[in-house]
Protein backbone atom coordinates (compact mmCIF):
# COMPACT_ATOMS: atom_id res chain seq x y z
CA UNK A 1 0.00 0.00 0.00
CA UNK A 2 2.69 2.47 0.95
CA UNK A 3 4.69 1.45 -2.08
CA UNK A 4 1.70 2.14 -4.27
CA UNK A 5 1.30 5.52 -2.65
CA UNK A 6 4.94 6.36 -3.25
CA UNK A 7 4.79 5.29 -6.85
CA UNK A 8 1.73 7.45 -7.36
CA UNK A 9 3.44 10.40 -5.69
CA UNK A 10 6.56 9.93 -7.83
CA UNK A 11 4.46 9.83 -10.99
CA UNK A 12 2.53 12.92 -9.95
CA UNK A 13 5.75 14.85 -9.31
CA UNK A 14 7.09 13.86 -12.69
CA UNK A 15 3.94 15.13 -14.37
CA UNK A 16 4.23 18.47 -12.54
CA UNK A 17 7.88 18.78 -13.58
CA UNK A 18 7.01 18.04 -17.21
CA UNK A 19 4.44 20.81 -17.01
CA UNK A 20 7.07 23.23 -15.71
CA UNK A 21 9.44 22.22 -18.49
CA UNK A 22 6.68 22.73 -21.04
CA UNK A 23 6.39 26.39 -20.05
CA UNK A 24 9.57 27.22 -21.95
CA UNK A 25 8.15 25.55 -25.05
CA UNK A 26 4.86 27.35 -24.53
CA UNK A 27 6.84 30.61 -24.37
CA UNK A 28 8.22 30.02 -27.85
CA UNK A 29 4.79 29.03 -29.15
CA UNK A 30 3.33 32.12 -27.48
CA UNK A 31 5.91 34.41 -29.06
CA UNK A 32 5.41 32.94 -32.54
CA UNK A 33 1.63 32.96 -32.39
CA UNK A 34 1.19 36.40 -30.87
CA UNK A 35 3.53 37.85 -33.50
CA UNK A 36 1.94 35.86 -36.32
CA UNK A 37 -1.66 36.63 -35.35
CA UNK A 38 -1.42 40.42 -35.31
CA UNK A 39 1.00 40.47 -38.25
CA UNK A 40 -1.48 38.55 -40.41
CA UNK A 41 -4.18 41.09 -39.59
CA UNK A 42 -1.69 43.85 -40.36
CA UNK A 43 -1.01 42.40 -43.79
CA UNK A 44 -4.72 42.11 -44.50
CA UNK A 45 -4.81 45.91 -44.24
CA UNK A 46 -1.40 46.85 -45.61
CA UNK A 47 0.11 45.22 -48.67
CA UNK A 48 3.12 43.06 -47.89
CA UNK A 49 4.70 44.41 -51.06
CA UNK A 50 4.47 47.99 -49.79
CA UNK A 51 5.82 46.92 -46.40
CA UNK A 52 9.03 45.49 -47.85
CA UNK A 53 9.61 47.86 -50.77
CA UNK A 54 8.37 51.33 -49.84
CA UNK A 55 11.14 53.55 -48.52
CA UNK A 56 8.92 55.72 -46.32
CA UNK A 57 7.95 54.72 -42.78
CA UNK A 58 5.18 56.98 -41.45
CA UNK A 59 2.47 54.75 -39.94
CA UNK A 60 0.83 57.49 -37.87
CA UNK A 61 0.87 60.17 -40.56
CA UNK A 62 -2.01 61.04 -42.83
CA UNK A 63 -1.72 59.56 -45.42
CA UNK A 64 0.22 56.76 -43.74
CA UNK A 65 3.07 54.93 -45.36
CA UNK A 66 4.24 51.51 -44.25
CA UNK A 67 7.69 50.90 -45.73
CA UNK A 68 9.78 49.07 -43.14
CA UNK A 69 13.06 49.54 -45.05
CA UNK A 70 14.07 52.75 -43.23
CA UNK A 71 13.76 50.95 -39.89
CA UNK A 72 15.79 48.03 -41.23
CA UNK A 73 18.41 50.44 -42.60
CA UNK A 74 18.60 52.19 -39.24
CA UNK A 75 18.96 48.88 -37.42
CA UNK A 76 21.67 47.72 -39.84
CA UNK A 77 23.54 50.98 -39.40
CA UNK A 78 23.61 50.45 -35.62
CA UNK A 79 24.60 46.79 -36.11
CA UNK A 80 27.48 47.65 -38.44
CA UNK A 81 28.83 50.64 -36.51
CA UNK A 82 28.57 48.85 -33.15
CA UNK A 83 30.36 45.81 -34.54
CA UNK A 84 33.24 48.09 -35.58
CA UNK A 85 33.65 48.64 -31.84
CA UNK A 86 32.71 45.27 -30.36
CA UNK A 87 34.36 42.84 -32.78
CA UNK A 88 37.97 44.15 -32.88
CA UNK A 89 38.03 45.17 -29.22
CA UNK A 90 36.33 41.95 -28.12
CA UNK A 91 38.64 39.77 -30.19
CA UNK A 92 41.69 41.69 -29.01
CA UNK A 93 40.58 41.27 -25.41
CA UNK A 94 40.06 37.54 -25.98
CA UNK A 95 43.49 37.09 -27.58
CA UNK A 96 45.10 38.97 -24.72
CA UNK A 97 43.29 36.95 -22.04
CA UNK A 98 43.82 33.60 -23.70
CA UNK A 99 47.34 33.91 -25.14
CA UNK A 100 49.23 36.77 -23.51
CA UNK A 101 47.97 37.25 -19.96
CA UNK A 102 49.18 35.19 -17.01
CA UNK A 103 46.42 33.47 -15.08
CA UNK A 104 46.83 36.05 -12.31
CA UNK A 105 46.28 38.96 -14.69
CA UNK A 106 43.36 37.14 -16.31
CA UNK A 107 41.65 36.72 -12.95
CA UNK A 108 41.73 40.47 -12.40
CA UNK A 109 40.84 41.63 -15.92
CA UNK A 110 38.07 39.19 -16.80
CA UNK A 111 35.55 40.21 -14.12
CA UNK A 112 36.11 43.88 -14.93
CA UNK A 113 35.40 43.29 -18.63
CA UNK A 114 32.33 41.29 -17.66
CA UNK A 115 31.11 44.20 -15.53
CA UNK A 116 30.56 46.03 -18.82
CA UNK A 117 27.95 43.42 -19.73
CA UNK A 118 26.20 43.69 -16.37
CA UNK A 119 25.44 47.39 -16.64
CA UNK A 120 21.79 47.89 -17.67
CA UNK A 121 21.28 49.17 -21.20
CA UNK A 122 19.34 52.19 -19.91
CA UNK A 123 22.55 53.31 -18.19
CA UNK A 124 24.47 53.05 -21.47
CA UNK A 125 21.71 55.03 -23.14
CA UNK A 126 22.08 57.80 -20.58
CA UNK A 127 25.86 57.71 -20.98
CA UNK A 128 25.59 57.88 -24.78
CA UNK A 129 23.28 60.89 -24.67
CA UNK A 130 24.98 62.85 -21.91
CA UNK A 131 28.62 62.00 -22.52
CA UNK A 132 29.41 60.37 -25.88
CA UNK A 133 27.20 62.70 -27.93
CA UNK A 134 28.63 65.95 -26.51
CA UNK A 135 32.12 64.49 -27.00
CA UNK A 136 31.38 63.67 -30.65
CA UNK A 137 29.89 67.10 -31.19
CA UNK A 138 33.05 68.77 -29.96
CA UNK A 139 35.01 66.91 -32.68
CA UNK A 140 32.34 66.81 -35.38
CA UNK A 141 30.18 69.92 -34.98
CA UNK A 142 27.54 68.85 -37.50
CA UNK A 143 26.55 65.83 -35.43
CA UNK A 144 22.85 65.75 -34.51
CA UNK A 145 21.90 65.59 -30.82
CA UNK A 146 20.36 62.21 -31.55
CA UNK A 147 22.66 60.25 -33.82
CA UNK A 148 23.45 56.70 -34.84
CA UNK A 149 27.17 56.88 -34.04
CA UNK A 150 26.82 57.73 -30.36
CA UNK A 151 24.28 54.94 -29.80
CA UNK A 152 26.44 52.51 -31.80
CA UNK A 153 29.50 53.18 -29.67
CA UNK A 154 27.49 52.44 -26.53
CA UNK A 155 25.95 49.30 -28.06
CA UNK A 156 29.43 48.22 -29.15
CA UNK A 157 30.83 48.62 -25.64
CA UNK A 158 27.90 46.70 -24.21
CA UNK A 159 28.31 43.75 -26.58
CA UNK A 160 32.12 43.71 -26.34
CA UNK A 161 32.20 41.34 -23.32
CA UNK A 162 30.06 38.86 -25.22
CA UNK A 163 32.58 38.70 -28.07
CA UNK A 164 35.47 38.61 -25.59
CA UNK A 165 34.17 35.81 -23.39
CA UNK A 166 32.78 33.56 -26.15
CA UNK A 167 35.94 33.98 -28.28
CA UNK A 168 38.14 33.40 -25.26
CA UNK A 169 36.24 30.19 -24.46
CA UNK A 170 36.84 29.04 -28.03
CA UNK A 171 40.58 29.86 -27.87
CA UNK A 172 41.02 28.30 -24.45
CA UNK A 173 39.54 25.06 -25.73
CA UNK A 174 42.27 24.73 -28.35
CA UNK A 175 44.46 21.98 -26.87
CA UNK A 176 47.70 23.09 -25.27
CA UNK A 177 49.71 20.53 -27.24
CA UNK A 178 49.00 22.42 -30.46
CA UNK A 179 50.07 25.67 -28.83
CA UNK A 180 53.25 24.13 -27.50
CA UNK A 181 54.03 22.54 -30.84
CA UNK A 182 54.03 25.99 -32.40
CA UNK A 183 56.21 27.41 -29.64
CA UNK A 184 58.65 24.53 -30.06
CA UNK A 185 59.10 25.61 -33.67
CA UNK A 186 60.23 28.99 -32.39
CA UNK A 187 57.07 31.02 -32.91
CA UNK A 188 56.44 34.19 -30.99
CA UNK A 189 53.23 34.60 -29.00
CA UNK A 190 51.75 36.73 -31.73
CA UNK A 191 52.54 34.15 -34.40
CA UNK A 192 50.98 31.40 -32.30
CA UNK A 193 47.88 33.51 -31.71
CA UNK A 194 47.39 34.63 -35.32
CA UNK A 195 48.51 31.54 -37.24
CA UNK A 196 47.50 28.74 -34.91
CA UNK A 197 45.00 29.63 -32.21
CA UNK A 198 42.67 32.02 -34.07
CA UNK A 199 42.30 29.70 -37.09
CA UNK A 200 41.72 26.70 -34.80
CA UNK A 201 39.10 28.60 -32.80
CA UNK A 202 37.61 30.22 -35.88
CA UNK A 203 34.11 28.73 -35.63
CA UNK A 204 33.74 29.84 -32.02
CA UNK A 205 35.01 33.31 -32.83
CA UNK A 206 32.72 33.63 -35.86
CA UNK A 207 29.69 32.57 -33.87
CA UNK A 208 30.55 35.05 -31.12
CA UNK A 209 30.58 37.76 -33.80
CA UNK A 210 27.18 36.71 -35.12
CA UNK A 211 25.68 36.53 -31.63
CA UNK A 212 27.04 39.98 -30.72
CA UNK A 213 25.57 41.50 -33.88
CA UNK A 214 22.27 39.79 -33.19
CA UNK A 215 22.31 41.25 -29.68
CA UNK A 216 23.01 44.69 -31.14
CA UNK A 217 20.03 44.33 -33.47
CA UNK A 218 17.73 43.53 -30.56
CA UNK A 219 19.17 46.21 -28.27
CA UNK A 220 16.48 48.70 -27.40
CA UNK A 221 16.98 51.31 -24.71
CA UNK A 222 20.30 52.72 -25.95
CA UNK A 223 18.92 53.39 -29.41
CA UNK A 224 15.59 54.62 -28.03
CA UNK A 225 17.44 57.23 -25.98
CA UNK A 226 20.39 58.22 -28.13
CA UNK A 227 19.77 57.34 -31.80
CA UNK A 228 16.70 59.46 -32.46
CA UNK A 229 13.22 58.91 -33.83
CA UNK A 230 13.67 59.69 -37.49
CA UNK A 231 13.05 56.73 -39.79
CA UNK A 232 15.50 57.32 -42.61
CA UNK A 233 17.25 55.49 -45.39
CA UNK A 234 20.33 57.64 -44.80
CA UNK A 235 23.50 55.86 -43.78
CA UNK A 236 24.96 59.01 -42.26
CA UNK A 237 26.25 57.94 -38.83
CA UNK A 238 26.03 61.50 -37.53
CA UNK A 239 22.33 61.86 -38.29
CA UNK A 240 19.20 60.88 -36.40
CA UNK A 241 17.72 57.50 -37.36
CA UNK A 242 15.19 55.04 -35.99
CA UNK A 243 15.64 51.30 -35.47
CA UNK A 244 12.98 48.60 -35.34
CA UNK A 245 13.28 48.36 -31.56
CA UNK A 246 13.30 52.14 -31.20
CA UNK A 247 10.06 52.35 -33.13
CA UNK A 248 8.40 49.66 -31.02
CA UNK A 249 9.28 51.38 -27.74
CA UNK A 250 8.14 54.69 -29.12
CA UNK A 251 4.74 53.32 -30.07
CA UNK A 252 4.33 51.57 -26.74
CA UNK A 253 5.06 54.82 -24.87
CA UNK A 254 2.09 56.48 -26.52
CA UNK A 255 -1.30 55.09 -25.59
CA UNK A 256 -1.94 52.64 -28.38
CA UNK A 257 -5.38 51.08 -28.65
CA UNK A 258 -5.63 47.37 -29.23
CA UNK A 259 -6.82 46.73 -32.75
CA UNK A 260 -5.61 50.06 -34.10
CA UNK A 261 -3.20 50.03 -37.01
CA UNK A 262 -0.45 51.44 -34.75
CA UNK A 263 -0.87 48.45 -32.46
CA UNK A 264 -0.50 46.07 -35.40
CA UNK A 265 2.59 47.81 -36.80
CA UNK A 266 4.38 47.04 -33.53
CA UNK A 267 3.72 43.35 -34.07
CA UNK A 268 4.65 43.47 -37.75
CA UNK A 269 7.97 45.17 -36.97
CA UNK A 270 8.44 42.80 -34.01
CA UNK A 271 8.03 39.85 -36.39
CA UNK A 272 10.76 41.17 -38.67
CA UNK A 273 13.04 41.68 -35.66
CA UNK A 274 12.28 38.21 -34.29
CA UNK A 275 12.91 36.47 -37.61
CA UNK A 276 16.22 38.31 -38.21
CA UNK A 277 17.60 37.58 -34.73
CA UNK A 278 16.36 33.98 -34.81
CA UNK A 279 18.09 33.31 -38.13
CA UNK A 280 21.32 34.83 -36.81
CA UNK A 281 21.21 32.81 -33.59
CA UNK A 282 20.51 29.57 -35.43
CA UNK A 283 23.28 30.40 -37.90
CA UNK A 284 25.74 30.95 -35.04
CA UNK A 285 24.83 27.55 -33.60
CA UNK A 286 25.14 25.95 -37.02
CA UNK A 287 28.62 27.42 -37.56
CA UNK A 288 29.75 26.03 -34.20
CA UNK A 289 28.24 22.61 -34.75
CA UNK A 290 29.56 22.23 -38.32
CA UNK A 291 33.10 23.43 -37.81
CA UNK A 292 33.87 22.12 -34.38
CA UNK A 293 37.37 20.69 -34.44
CA UNK A 294 37.52 17.40 -32.63
CA UNK A 295 40.84 16.83 -30.96
Amino acid sequence: MTKKKYLFQEKLIEVVLVLFASISILTTIGIVFSLLFETMIFFSEVSIFEFFTSIRWAPVFDPPSFGVLPLITGTLLIAILSSLVSLPLGLGTAIFLSEFASSKVRKVIKPIIELLAGIPSIVYGFFALTFITPLLRSFLPNTDIFNALSASIAVGIMTLPMVASLSEDAMMSVPNSIRQGAYALGSTKLEVAIHVIVPAAFSGIASSFVLAISRAIGETMIVAIAAGQTPSMSLNPLGSIQTMTGFMVNMALGDIQQGSIEFKTVFAVGSVLFVITLIMNLFAKYVIAKNREVY
Binding site: I31, S34, L273
Partner: protein, 289 residues
Protein backbone atom coordinates in the same frame (compact mmCIF):
# COMPACT_ATOMS: atom_id res chain seq x y z
CA UNK B 1 73.14 33.96 -39.72
CA UNK B 2 73.04 37.68 -39.13
CA UNK B 3 70.11 37.78 -41.55
CA UNK B 4 68.27 35.30 -39.32
CA UNK B 5 69.06 37.33 -36.24
CA UNK B 6 67.78 40.47 -37.91
CA UNK B 7 64.54 38.73 -38.80
CA UNK B 8 64.20 37.28 -35.33
CA UNK B 9 64.65 40.70 -33.83
CA UNK B 10 61.95 42.04 -36.11
CA UNK B 11 59.57 39.25 -35.18
CA UNK B 12 60.07 39.95 -31.50
CA UNK B 13 59.59 43.63 -32.09
CA UNK B 14 56.28 43.02 -33.89
CA UNK B 15 55.25 40.68 -31.09
CA UNK B 16 55.95 43.34 -28.49
CA UNK B 17 54.18 46.03 -30.49
CA UNK B 18 51.15 43.76 -30.75
CA UNK B 19 51.23 43.21 -27.01
CA UNK B 20 51.20 46.97 -26.50
CA UNK B 21 48.24 47.21 -28.87
CA UNK B 22 46.35 44.58 -26.87
CA UNK B 23 47.05 46.35 -23.60
CA UNK B 24 45.73 49.49 -25.26
CA UNK B 25 42.57 47.60 -26.32
CA UNK B 26 42.01 46.38 -22.75
CA UNK B 27 42.57 49.87 -21.38
CA UNK B 28 39.83 51.22 -23.65
CA UNK B 29 37.31 49.01 -21.85
CA UNK B 30 38.68 50.05 -18.47
CA UNK B 31 38.65 53.69 -19.47
CA UNK B 32 35.04 53.55 -20.68
CA UNK B 33 33.91 51.73 -17.54
CA UNK B 34 35.72 54.23 -15.32
CA UNK B 35 34.41 57.23 -17.24
CA UNK B 36 30.87 55.90 -17.19
CA UNK B 37 30.83 55.30 -13.44
CA UNK B 38 32.57 58.59 -12.67
CA UNK B 39 30.33 60.58 -14.99
CA UNK B 40 27.17 59.16 -13.43
CA UNK B 41 28.51 59.60 -9.90
CA UNK B 42 29.53 63.22 -10.48
CA UNK B 43 26.23 64.08 -12.10
CA UNK B 44 24.01 62.31 -9.63
CA UNK B 45 25.50 62.29 -6.14
CA UNK B 46 24.39 65.80 -5.23
CA UNK B 47 20.71 65.11 -5.80
CA UNK B 48 20.84 61.63 -4.26
CA UNK B 49 19.25 62.50 -0.93
CA UNK B 50 16.90 60.74 1.48
CA UNK B 51 14.10 62.98 0.17
CA UNK B 52 14.87 61.79 -3.36
CA UNK B 53 14.38 58.19 -2.29
CA UNK B 54 11.21 58.79 -0.31
CA UNK B 55 9.39 61.27 -2.58
CA UNK B 56 6.92 60.92 -5.40
CA UNK B 57 7.91 61.98 -8.94
CA UNK B 58 7.15 65.57 -9.71
CA UNK B 59 7.03 67.89 -12.69
CA UNK B 60 9.75 69.87 -10.96
CA UNK B 61 13.11 68.13 -10.88
CA UNK B 62 14.07 69.64 -7.53
CA UNK B 63 11.13 67.98 -5.77
CA UNK B 64 11.01 64.72 -7.70
CA UNK B 65 11.70 61.35 -6.09
CA UNK B 66 11.79 57.69 -6.96
CA UNK B 67 9.65 56.07 -4.25
CA UNK B 68 6.99 54.52 -6.55
CA UNK B 69 9.69 53.30 -8.94
CA UNK B 70 11.72 51.79 -6.12
CA UNK B 71 8.70 50.03 -4.59
CA UNK B 72 7.56 49.00 -8.07
CA UNK B 73 10.96 47.50 -8.88
CA UNK B 74 11.03 45.56 -5.60
CA UNK B 75 7.47 44.34 -6.21
CA UNK B 76 8.06 43.24 -9.78
CA UNK B 77 11.35 41.53 -8.96
CA UNK B 78 9.95 39.74 -5.89
CA UNK B 79 7.04 38.42 -7.97
CA UNK B 80 9.40 37.50 -10.79
CA UNK B 81 11.50 35.49 -8.34
CA UNK B 82 8.41 33.70 -7.00
CA UNK B 83 7.34 32.75 -10.52
CA UNK B 84 10.60 32.08 -12.32
CA UNK B 85 12.67 30.23 -9.70
CA UNK B 86 10.23 27.33 -9.05
CA UNK B 87 9.55 26.90 -12.78
CA UNK B 88 13.22 27.19 -13.72
CA UNK B 89 14.46 24.84 -11.01
CA UNK B 90 11.61 22.42 -11.75
CA UNK B 91 12.59 22.35 -15.42
CA UNK B 92 16.23 21.82 -14.49
CA UNK B 93 15.32 18.93 -12.14
CA UNK B 94 13.25 17.36 -14.88
CA UNK B 95 16.05 17.65 -17.44
CA UNK B 96 18.80 16.34 -15.14
CA UNK B 97 17.04 13.79 -12.92
CA UNK B 98 13.98 12.50 -14.79
CA UNK B 99 14.15 12.95 -18.52
CA UNK B 100 15.48 10.38 -20.92
CA UNK B 101 18.38 12.40 -22.35
CA UNK B 102 17.93 10.87 -25.79
CA UNK B 103 14.21 11.52 -26.12
CA UNK B 104 12.95 13.91 -28.78
CA UNK B 105 11.13 15.99 -26.14
CA UNK B 106 14.38 16.65 -24.28
CA UNK B 107 16.26 17.56 -27.46
CA UNK B 108 13.44 19.93 -28.44
CA UNK B 109 13.45 21.40 -24.94
CA UNK B 110 17.19 22.04 -24.97
CA UNK B 111 17.18 23.60 -28.43
CA UNK B 112 14.21 25.69 -27.38
CA UNK B 113 15.85 26.95 -24.18
CA UNK B 114 19.05 27.96 -25.95
CA UNK B 115 17.05 29.75 -28.65
CA UNK B 116 14.92 31.59 -26.10
CA UNK B 117 18.10 32.92 -24.49
CA UNK B 118 18.85 34.76 -27.75
CA UNK B 119 15.42 36.32 -28.25
CA UNK B 120 15.61 40.12 -27.78
CA UNK B 121 14.09 41.33 -24.51
CA UNK B 122 11.62 43.57 -26.31
CA UNK B 123 10.06 40.53 -28.02
CA UNK B 124 9.18 39.14 -24.58
CA UNK B 125 7.44 42.47 -24.03
CA UNK B 126 5.34 41.80 -27.14
CA UNK B 127 4.48 38.34 -25.83
CA UNK B 128 3.44 39.86 -22.50
CA UNK B 129 1.37 42.51 -24.25
CA UNK B 130 -0.44 40.04 -26.50
CA UNK B 131 -0.96 37.21 -24.01
CA UNK B 132 -1.07 38.47 -20.42
CA UNK B 133 -2.15 42.03 -20.99
CA UNK B 134 -4.67 41.63 -23.83
CA UNK B 135 -5.68 37.96 -24.11
CA UNK B 136 -5.91 37.23 -20.37
CA UNK B 137 -7.02 40.81 -19.84
CA UNK B 138 -4.74 41.78 -16.96
CA UNK B 139 -3.91 45.15 -18.53
CA UNK B 140 -0.76 47.11 -17.70
CA UNK B 141 -0.54 45.65 -14.19
CA UNK B 142 2.26 44.67 -11.83
CA UNK B 143 1.62 40.95 -12.29
CA UNK B 144 1.88 41.24 -16.10
CA UNK B 145 5.31 42.88 -15.71
CA UNK B 146 6.35 40.04 -13.41
CA UNK B 147 5.10 37.33 -15.79
CA UNK B 148 6.91 38.98 -18.69
CA UNK B 149 10.24 39.33 -16.86
CA UNK B 150 9.88 35.75 -15.53
CA UNK B 151 9.71 34.34 -19.04
CA UNK B 152 12.63 36.58 -20.04
CA UNK B 153 14.99 35.24 -17.36
CA UNK B 154 13.67 31.67 -17.31
CA UNK B 155 16.32 30.35 -19.75
CA UNK B 156 19.11 31.84 -17.61
CA UNK B 157 17.69 30.30 -14.42
CA UNK B 158 17.20 26.90 -16.07
CA UNK B 159 20.74 26.80 -17.43
CA UNK B 160 22.37 27.84 -14.15
CA UNK B 161 20.20 25.41 -12.16
CA UNK B 162 21.18 22.57 -14.51
CA UNK B 163 24.86 23.44 -13.96
CA UNK B 164 24.38 23.48 -10.18
CA UNK B 165 22.56 20.15 -10.13
CA UNK B 166 25.07 18.52 -12.46
CA UNK B 167 27.87 19.61 -10.10
CA UNK B 168 26.49 17.28 -7.41
CA UNK B 169 28.60 14.13 -7.71
CA UNK B 170 26.84 11.03 -8.93
CA UNK B 171 28.21 8.95 -6.07
CA UNK B 172 26.06 10.92 -3.62
CA UNK B 173 22.97 10.39 -5.73
CA UNK B 174 23.67 6.66 -5.99
CA UNK B 175 24.40 6.41 -2.28
CA UNK B 176 20.95 7.77 -1.57
CA UNK B 177 19.31 5.40 -4.02
CA UNK B 178 21.25 2.49 -2.52
CA UNK B 179 19.63 3.24 0.82
CA UNK B 180 16.25 2.77 -0.82
CA UNK B 181 15.32 6.45 -0.91
CA UNK B 182 12.81 7.39 -3.60
CA UNK B 183 13.77 9.63 -6.49
CA UNK B 184 11.88 12.67 -5.23
CA UNK B 185 13.20 12.32 -1.65
CA UNK B 186 16.71 12.01 -3.07
CA UNK B 187 16.18 15.23 -4.97
CA UNK B 188 14.67 17.23 -2.09
CA UNK B 189 16.79 15.73 0.67
CA UNK B 190 20.18 15.28 -0.96
CA UNK B 191 20.61 16.94 -4.33
CA UNK B 192 18.80 20.25 -3.90
CA UNK B 193 20.47 21.15 -0.58
CA UNK B 194 23.84 20.70 -2.25
CA UNK B 195 22.83 22.54 -5.40
CA UNK B 196 21.11 25.43 -3.60
CA UNK B 197 24.10 27.82 -3.48
CA UNK B 198 24.66 27.43 -7.22
CA UNK B 199 20.97 27.82 -7.95
CA UNK B 200 20.77 30.91 -5.75
CA UNK B 201 23.81 32.52 -7.36
CA UNK B 202 22.39 31.99 -10.85
CA UNK B 203 18.94 33.18 -9.84
CA UNK B 204 20.18 36.32 -8.11
CA UNK B 205 22.25 37.26 -11.17
CA UNK B 206 19.26 36.64 -13.44
CA UNK B 207 16.99 38.73 -11.21
CA UNK B 208 19.49 41.57 -11.08
CA UNK B 209 19.48 41.56 -14.87
CA UNK B 210 15.69 41.69 -14.82
CA UNK B 211 15.85 44.69 -12.49
CA UNK B 212 17.69 46.72 -15.15
CA UNK B 213 15.33 45.82 -17.98
CA UNK B 214 13.17 48.63 -19.31
CA UNK B 215 12.11 47.62 -22.82
CA UNK B 216 9.85 44.64 -21.99
CA UNK B 217 8.11 46.61 -19.24
CA UNK B 218 7.48 49.52 -21.58
CA UNK B 219 5.89 47.12 -24.07
CA UNK B 220 3.46 45.83 -21.44
CA UNK B 221 2.40 49.37 -20.60
CA UNK B 222 4.47 50.25 -17.53
CA UNK B 223 5.27 53.96 -17.28
CA UNK B 224 7.91 56.03 -15.56
CA UNK B 225 5.76 58.75 -14.11
CA UNK B 226 3.50 57.25 -11.43
CA UNK B 227 2.48 59.20 -8.35
CA UNK B 228 0.99 56.41 -6.24
CA UNK B 229 2.24 53.17 -4.75
CA UNK B 230 0.90 49.87 -6.06
CA UNK B 231 -1.56 48.22 -3.64
CA UNK B 232 -2.41 45.05 -5.47
CA UNK B 233 -1.09 42.80 -8.19
CA UNK B 234 -3.46 44.43 -10.64
CA UNK B 235 -2.32 48.02 -10.00
CA UNK B 236 -0.28 50.10 -12.39
CA UNK B 237 3.32 50.57 -11.33
CA UNK B 238 6.65 52.10 -12.22
CA UNK B 239 10.17 50.71 -12.02
CA UNK B 240 13.62 52.26 -11.62
CA UNK B 241 14.78 51.93 -15.26
CA UNK B 242 11.46 53.42 -16.38
CA UNK B 243 11.68 56.56 -14.26
CA UNK B 244 15.30 56.96 -15.37
CA UNK B 245 14.16 56.67 -18.99
CA UNK B 246 11.39 59.19 -18.41
CA UNK B 247 13.80 61.73 -16.92
CA UNK B 248 16.49 61.07 -19.54
CA UNK B 249 13.97 61.85 -22.29
CA UNK B 250 13.36 65.35 -20.93
CA UNK B 251 15.48 68.14 -22.35
CA UNK B 252 16.12 70.06 -19.08
CA UNK B 253 19.53 69.55 -17.50
CA UNK B 254 18.02 69.28 -14.00
CA UNK B 255 16.27 66.08 -15.05
CA UNK B 256 19.52 64.61 -16.37
CA UNK B 257 20.93 65.09 -12.87
CA UNK B 258 18.13 63.29 -11.09
CA UNK B 259 18.22 60.62 -13.80
CA UNK B 260 21.86 60.09 -12.82
CA UNK B 261 20.79 59.86 -9.16
CA UNK B 262 18.21 57.25 -10.15
CA UNK B 263 20.91 55.31 -12.00
CA UNK B 264 23.13 55.49 -8.90
CA UNK B 265 20.36 53.88 -6.84
CA UNK B 266 20.03 51.17 -9.51
CA UNK B 267 23.77 50.56 -9.62
CA UNK B 268 24.01 50.38 -5.82
CA UNK B 269 21.24 47.76 -5.78
CA UNK B 270 23.02 45.86 -8.57
CA UNK B 271 26.30 45.91 -6.65
CA UNK B 272 24.56 44.61 -3.51
CA UNK B 273 22.83 41.78 -5.35
CA UNK B 274 25.93 40.78 -7.29
CA UNK B 275 28.11 40.83 -4.17
CA UNK B 276 25.52 38.68 -2.40
CA UNK B 277 25.67 36.20 -5.25
CA UNK B 278 29.46 36.10 -5.16
CA UNK B 279 29.55 35.70 -1.37
CA UNK B 280 27.04 32.84 -1.49
CA UNK B 281 29.10 31.16 -4.17
CA UNK B 282 32.39 31.52 -2.33
CA UNK B 283 31.10 30.64 1.16
CA UNK B 284 29.21 27.54 0.26
CA UNK B 285 31.09 25.98 -2.59
CA UNK B 286 30.64 22.22 -2.44
CA UNK B 287 33.83 20.37 -1.79
CA UNK B 288 33.48 16.68 -2.34
CA UNK B 289 36.58 14.66 -2.94
Amino acid sequence: MSNFKRKLKRRHLINNLFMVLLVFVISISFLVLGTLLLEIFLRGYKTLTWDFITSMPSGRASRAGILPALIGSFGVIALTALISIPIGVGTAIYLTEYADKKSKFVKLLQLNISNLAGVPAIVYGILGLAVFSQLVGLGPSLIVGAFTLSLLILPVIIVSAIEAIKAVPNSIREGSYALGVTRWKTITGVILPMATPGIMTGSILALSRAMGEAAPLIMVGAVGFVTFLPNSLLDRYSALPLIVFNWTSRPQAAFAEIAASGILVMLILLIITNLTAIIIRNKTQIRVD
